[in-house]
Subunit: 227 residues, 2 copies
């Protein structure tokens, strides 16, 4: 059940047609929301395939980045980190104005092979770059520290005893994202502070990648235990 | 109880007289080992204070970095990241040759205020710099992802249901460090691979620092949950 700070059904934009985008899109449809999947072109093959599979819902739509951002009351950035600023520029600052913009991206640089490095320093983050470039959007960094299946079904693992991290400058926007996370099944959500905390969750990615290797599965997550 | 791959009593060098160094030194004394705390000068005030408090054991010693490294069969680097290479140079490559060198340091740069940034990129780590500079030492990165009290008494928190991470190029050295961790009470130890994985655990520090703020205590740690 979606709690009070989120309307029971809302319009969501998902920018990006990869696994993260379609996984979140499907979860939102399952919860009764309307979803537009946005990509660079209207005839993106992955978007059309997703739309075909989701047509029965009557609430699945496809369009350009700009179409989707105009459609959504809340916007998810699910593009690759290296494409994020450009994709959001195509979405259009005007279409993002005043909206909660959930940034799931990571500043991964795959150009030098595996494991990828980060294209940000520890004094910078993609979350901050997004907030700076789209100053009137209410950016919340979230969903960037676990694999796609766990993002939307956290209770699959350890009965949900693991943690989601959020950060952002807008307290009301973070409350909405917390509500959304709870509607996905998240029990443990840690608010790390303002958008500069994106440095922290993005810099966790090198450890996430090594743990992926050590665990031999992407179905793992971390639980913060405290006294 | 220390298991088969570690002798029941051994000689340890601790380089660095801060909280991490003295906390580990006291734990090693409590387990019956001999310990020399090394610092830049023989008359370091913190080292002498520690020695006074530990004299009853008959197994506590102080000396220069070089004295300690010569004394220890296993060497702990517990100096600040910014001082690590210089401290190890003073310890002397010859005194480190063939020895297990446990590197607990983090590449934190406090010069621009709090929170500290990292002075390494995601394609580099202090662990690798140490291994490269002291090629005949058997470097194992460990103990750099939790607060000092938890390093030596992990069962204080959540009955020890949280994780220590190690990495290094020498399998036998990592086995010795795993034995040592178990003798300290660690139940969950994840081997992340070769020394390049130090990039991962060192890059976790920005998240550790934000979690410290969010948890309002340093008595927290992370547990990796997996399917």
């Amino acid at each position: 059940m979606v709690d009070a700070t989120l309307a029971s059904t809302m319009k969501f934009a998902i920018l990006g047609t990869g696994t993260v985008g379609t996984t979140i899109a499907n979860k939102l449809l399952a919860l009764g929301h309307d979803v537009m999947l946005g990509s660079r072109t209207k005839d993106n093959a992955k978007a059309l395939e997703w739309h075909k599979g989701s047509a029965a819902s009557g609430r699945a739509h496809v369009g350009t980045f700009a179409d989707a951002a105009a459609f959504g009351e809340v916007v998810f950035n699910c593009t690759l980190g290296s494409a994020t600023i450009e994709a959001l520029s195509l979405a259009g600052a005007g279409n993002l104005e005043g909206k909660v913009l959930i940034d799931t991206s990571n500043p991964l640089d795959f150009s030098k092979g595996m494991p990828p490095s980060l294209f940000t320093s520890s004094e910078d983050s993609l979350g901050e770059r997004v907030q700076k470039a789209f100053a009137s959007a209410r950016v919340v960094k979230a969903f960037n520290t676990m694999s796609a299946p766990l993002m939307v079904e956290p209770q699959q693992l350890a009965d949900g005893q693991h943690d989601a991290f959020i950060c952002g400058n807008d307290a009301a926007a973070k409350e909405q994202v917390q509500s959304l996370l709870r509607s996905f099944g998240w029990k443990h959500i840690i608010d790390l502070g303002d958008i500069t905390a994106a440095r922290a969750t993005e810099h966790y990615l090198p450890l996430w990648l090594r743990l992926w290797g050590a665990c031999k599965t992407h179905m793992f997550s971390v639980h913060v235990v405290r006294s």
